[in-house]
């Protein structure tokens, strides 16, 4: 992977690297090491003294029912968002793939929600479903559904999921459409000649060939739900009601800032780092395989 020709200069490469390395050190590695360090420390109630407490913060966190609740919420939230946004996007991409002219026109009309900030997406959805002024609440009441995302935890989670899915469909659509368009038409025609109908062709030929894209998107979607939905949650529910929409990332924020429990927040950061390292490793293993393909 190296170039066969290169420049020889003792100082220049270091100067070129300096800005990025400096920023990386100051704003990435130093804070990350501080988080690790903080996870072993505890401050007294007034923040005057700090002492080394070993794994006590870890033990405390693992005894908190709220932490398991946040983990559970994160798992439910990620599975719902990933399942819904992937299947809706696949349906739309497979329809758009039927006709190239339609594909390019619909692409423009479907991809723009990617550009909407998560916090604003959250505000758009709470406006539609706000218990007292939401336009879509009255129809819900008419069919006998007492909807209130500000008081009911399940309603709140449904609302956050809808906003997150709305934003993510565009991304998944783009990658599925690219994946579909790269499948050779001859393979599909061969299946058709063998007598396979459109549904059978989709599930036995197209879907398996699309599995690298699907797997890649699955990882990306989980990362998205973990980290990029912070703005949606903060705008729609603020983690409530009663912690029903508090994900692991939201809890790091809420515990450190509102609760002032920096040690506990740091332990949660460490757990999240481990999760991201795991996800990134999976992603890159897979990417390498795709390159060799």
């Amino acid at each position: 992977m190296d170039k066969s020709v290169s420049f020889h200069n003792k100082l220049l490469p270091y100067l070129l690297l300096a800005p990025q390395l400096a920023i990386t050190m100051v704003f990435f590695y130093w804070p990350a090491s501080q988080a690790l360090n903080q996870s072993f420390l505890r401050e007294d109630a007034f923040g005057l003294t700090t002492q080394f407490v070993g794994f006590e913060n870890y033990a405390d966190l693992l005894q908190q029912p709220q932490y398991y609740a946040a983990m559970f919420t994160t798992v439910i939230f990620s599975s719902l968002v990933a399942a819904l946004s992937l299947s809706i996007a696949l349906l739309l991409a497979s329809q758009a793939d039927k006709n190239l002219r339609a594909a390019s026109a619909y692409k423009a009309l479907l991809i723009w929600p990617y550009a909407v900030a998560p916090a604003i997406a959250g505000i758009l959805w709470i406006f539609m479903f706000h218990p007292s002024l939401g336009t879509l609440v009255r129809p819900l009441r008419v069919i006998g559904f007492n909807w209130n995302p500000l008081l009911n935890g399940n309603d709140a989670l449904v609302l956050v999921v809808m906003a997150a899915v709305w934003k993510q469909i565009s991304y998944n659509f783009l990658f599925f459409l690219a994946g579909l368009q790269s499948i050779p038409k001859s393979v599909i025609e061969a299946a058709a000649i063998d007598g396979a109908g459109p549904m059978r062709r989709f599930w036995t030929v197209i879907f398996p060939l699309l599995s690298p894209t699907t797997f890649f998107l699955l990882v990306v979607n989980v990362v998205y739900v973990f980290f990029d939905t912070f703005g949606i949650i903060d705008a729609v529910t603020g983690g409530g009601p009663a912690g029903a929409t508090t994900t692991m990332v939201y809890k790091v924020f809420a515990d450190g800032r509102l609760g002032g429990d920096l040690g506990g927040s740091a332990v949660q950061s460490v757990f999240l780092m481990i999760i991201v390292i795991g996800l990134t490793t999976i992603q890159f293993r897979y990417v390498e395989r795709r390159v060799q393909y």
């Binding site: 270091y14 704003f27 550009a115 406006f127 999240l272």
Partner: protein, 281 residues
């Protein structure tokens, strides 16, 4: 493809058109709300067509803000623009230089430097918020553009993208430049940079959207209203008790805040798609 296509085609158009309408609905509703007066929006029975207060609501937020947040949205939009352009340009600048060093030079610790940069993929801002906040506070960068921009520009994506692009540039170009007597600066300026313009533009589009839509980081490090970005500002308009929130003004702000990044995606679709696909490789 093989069968008679007419039925399948009609079905495809129907499904896609329905999806387009459903996806656009939340934004349409926000736009409609931004053209009515407060009472119409608050009674829960807002019509689905625009009202007559568009001009009034938009000039009000742009020049004088809302009752909860007296900061004019014009100022917030400026803050967002400065942050987003700063993040995009800063990221392109530092990552093109580091990629140039890693690809075109041989020096001790080259691999180490690359891995140090690469590993930042695993440290998103959310997992190190409070310590990063403390660093920025210690450097006296709270409530400054530098404080918003700097911690967000270092990441591996830009460097990986440029590295990948540089690897595809034929070695013969460097050999030819060397024969012509060009040093590292001239080769970069006259050969590599002109070849990279599309990659730079694609990365700019993606990073501008990323910067414009930042939420958690600016929320933490801005305390003065005059430094708020528009995404933070609109959120603060709605934090007071919901009955008092001026939704028609908040929705006008939301429309203004969505406009620049959405326009970029729509009008620069090609660059956007390219940037999106390439940064994920």
């Amino acid at each position: 493809m093989v069968e008679n296509r007419s039925f399948g085609d009609v079905l495809a158009y129907a499904i896609l058109s329905l999806a387009v309408l459903i996806i656009a609905f939340p934004v349409w509703l926000a736009f409609v709300a931004s053209t009515h007066e407060a009472a119409t929006v608050m009674n829960g029975n807002m019509p689905l067509t625009p009202g007559g207060h568009l001009w009034e609501n938009y000039t009000r937020v742009l020049t004088s803000g809302t009752t909860q947040s007296s900061e004019p949205v014009g100022r917030m939009l400026t803050n967002s623009l400065i942050s987003a352009v700063g993040i995009a340009v800063g990221k392109i600048f530092i990552s093109i230089l580091s990629a140039y060093a890693v690809v075109y030079f041989r020096f001790p610790f080259r691999k180490t430097a690359f891995w140090i940069i690469f590993m930042t993929l695993m440290l998103p801002v959310e997992v190190r918020i409070y310590p990063t906040y403390k660093v920025v506070a210690d450097l006296k960068l709270l409530d400054t553009y530098t404080g918003i921009i700097l911690p967000l520009i270092a990441s591996a994506t830009g460097t990986l993208l440029f590295r990948q692009f540089f690897m595809t540039v034929p070695d013969e170009l460097l050999e030819a430049s060397k024969i012509d007597g060009a040093g590292p600066f001239r080769f970069f300026k006259d050969t590599l940079l002109p070849l990279s313009t599309t990659t730079i533009a694609a990365l700019f589009v993606i990073q501008f959207i990323y910067g414009w839509n930042q939420y958690l980081w600016p929320l933490l490090i801005t305390t003065q209203d005059s430094m708020q970005t528009v995404v933070i500002g609109i959120r603060k308009m709605l934090t007071s008790t919901d009955t008092k929130a001026e939704w028609q003004l908040a929705m006008a702000t939301a429309v203004l805040a969505m406009l620049p990044p959405v326009a970029i995606v729509v009008f620069m679709q090609r660059l956007f798609v390219r940037g999106l696909v390439e940064t994920e490789k």
